[in-house]
């Protein structure tokens, strides 16, 4: 009989523990679904429920405070979502709080986020309706991303054709990049231009001096120059000429650097590329310029042999020969 008593004691312990565990598990599960807490109900109107279901969590500033317990269609653009919120939250949620539908992680279930509104407001009372904010859903985000992606694809395709054309030497820029002869031509042209402008500069300076020296002589030039009004004008003109030669020099310097850049491949001129005719034209133009400068050179040469300036240019001729040799 004592054995039976011990057995019964053990059985009793076993049964009690088992039952308590079962009840405890049931309580824990129910607790998560706010079954044993005092709650109150509020609602919010949304345009799109985006997959919300009964039992989804409601979060206030990131804390689980309740569950969704009803979703009903009011009309075709309004959906009323009812929420059961813990009673203790009545002291925290204010009337200007904003409800929005979010999701718990990228693949998680949907939930309602209640965020506190700005400024102060009264506390919420049961049955209140919160303002809602329709967030951009994942779907919208993905469609926007899709468009961006397509654009990026088009852009890269364009870039590819451009770079391909450049490497193949098509278009102005491509030719400039790859055609070394053209580059040499350009360089030569610019060098010539520089020389020309230098010589014209010196010529102008010389002319200036000569004109100043002529000043009061009784020659035709003197008479012409004694006329102070026209003299002033001519002076002005010469001044302007001088200025322009300086500017020409500057421009040629700039051109020189630009050409250097283009040759070095630093230029970012871009999309004009496919026009090969332009290159030919440029080529021809350059040749014309070359011819023009040569002729200008000749002219300058002729000027050198002019009786007025001959003396000065003899000095320079030696220097120039040295330069050309170099």
């Amino acid at each position: 009989m004592t054995k039976t008593k011990l057995e019964n004691l053990r059985l009793g312990i076993f049964v009690v523990i088992g039952t308590v565990l079962l009840l405890f598990a049931a309580f824990l599960i129910g607790n998560r679904q706010n079954m044993f807490k005092k709650t109150f109900e509020i609602s919010a109107i949304f345009k799109n429920a985006t997959g919300l279901q009964n039992g989804n969590n409601v979060r206030f500033s990131g804390i689980n405070v309740g569950t969704v317990n009803g979703i009903e269609m009011v009309n075709d653009t309004t959906i009323r979502v009812k929420m059961t919120i813990e009673n203790s939250m009545r002291n925290h949620i204010k009337k200007n709080a904003i409800a929005s539908i979010g999701s718990n992680g990228l693949v998680g279930s949907m939930l309602i986020n209640i965020a506190p509104g700005e400024g102060s407001s009264e506390l919420i009372v049961p049955g209140d309706e919160l303002q809602s904010l329709s967030k951009i859903g994942t779907q919208d985000m993905i469609s926007t991303l899709n468009i961006t992606n397509e654009n990026a694809a088009l852009l890269t395709a364009d870039l590819l054709t451009v770079s391909k054309a450049l490497t193949e030497g098509k278009g102005t820029l491509g030719r400039l990049l790859n055609d070394t002869i053209l580059a040499d031509h350009l360089q030569q042209t610019l060098k010539n231009l520089k020389q020309t402008s230098e010589s014209s500069n010196t010529t102008m300076g010389e002319l200036n001096r000569i004109v100043r020296n002529l000043d009061l002589e009784e020659s035709a030039a003197g008479v012409l120059l004694n006329d102070t009004v026209s003299g002033g004008r001519i002076k002005n003109i010469i001044q302007n000429l001088e200025n322009s030669t300086f500017q020409i020099e500057k421009i040629t310097l700039d051109l020189n650097t630009i050409v250097g850049d283009i040759k070095g491949g630093d230029g970012a001129i871009g999309y004009l590329s496919k026009d090969t005719i332009l290159v030919n034209q440029l080529d021809r133009t350059m040749r014309n310029i070359e011819q023009g400068t040569e002729r200008f050179n000749e002219n300058m040469e002729a000027l050198k042999h002019n009786f007025l300036t001959r003396g000065y240019f003899r000095k320079l001729a030696k220097q120039k020969k040295n330069e050309e040799k170099q």
Partner: protein, 254 residues
């Protein structure tokens, strides 16, 4: 072949008759309460260690095995949800019931079988005691009541084993693990599983008693009774499980 099929239907019929007799006798007072407690102790407490061990290992192994796959999906944080739900819904009850089918159904089958063979049951009948009431009703009630409790213990231990692996391998604290598990669980998981385990217990007791009670004469009959009790109980468990899942799906939509 025809004979076999016929035998199968005969067995089903006999089993049905046996269970209807059980329900009839249950409500016939007086109830053998002391014998019920004795049987409960035999089946509940004595099976506890076995159930705890198997479920602990199952929880441990299930977690260890599914962890690599979950890591591949980057869903290791979902481990408690997955393991918790599968243990509470299915693995806990089924494993516990199978273990008990092995231990209890064979025990009952052998015990009643040997009583039948040694004509103790006939002697009881002669002496005016209702052997069905004393032997069968108490045993079936004992299994029906004890299996759910064993399942609860088994579930808890299996979850503990799983939590242990998560704790050691994934630095998941026990509190976080059980929080996540109970977050994932709902009444729709716990209630059908518990109801189901009552039926499991009933099946184990019923089949064990039936096989033992109608055991063939002779010593070989005892062995056959014990053996076929285990086989039939295990088989019937899965059938019941299948039906239970179907029915619970109606009440608790997924």
């Amino acid at each position: 072949m025809v004979n076999r099929i016929k035998q199968f239907f005969i067995q089903i019929g006999e089993l049905s008759y046996f269970s209807s007799r059980f329900f009839k006798e249950t409500f016939n007072l007086p109830f053998e309460f002391k014998e019920l407690l004795r049987q409960c102790y035999q089946m509940g407490n004595r099976s506890l260690v076995l159930v705890v061990m198997t479920n602990f290992i199952i929880g441990l192994v299930l977690t260890l095995q599914s962890r690599p796959t979950m890591i591949q999906f980057g869903a290791v944080s979902m481990m408690p949800n997955m393991v918790g739900i599968s243990i509470v819904r299915e693995i806990g009850p089924v494993i516990t019931a199978l273990i008990c089918a092995g231990r209890i159904a064979s025990g009952i089958g052998a015990e009643l079988g040997s009583m039948r063979v040694t004509e103790q049951i006939d002697a009881m009948e002669v002496s005016g005691t209702n052997p069905f009431k004393y032997l069968v009703v108490t045993r079936i009630w004992a299994t029906t009541l004890m299996i759910p409790l064993l399942v609860i213990f088994g579930d808890l231990i299996a979850l503990y084993g799983s939590a242990l692996v998560e704790n050691l391998k994934g630095q998941v604290s026990f509190q976080l693990y059980f929080n996540t598990v109970f977050d994932a669980l709902s009444f729709g998981d716990l209630v059908p599983a518990t109801v189901k385990s009552f039926f499991f217990g009933f099946v184990i007791g019923l089949v064990g008693c039936y096989k033992g009670y109608y055991s063939k004469k002779g010593t070989a009959g005892v062995g056959i009774a014990a053996n076929s009790a285990v086989v039939m109980a295990s088989l019937l468990l899965f059938v019941v499980d299948f039906i239970a899942v179907f029915v619970s799906d109606i009440f608790y939509e997924i």
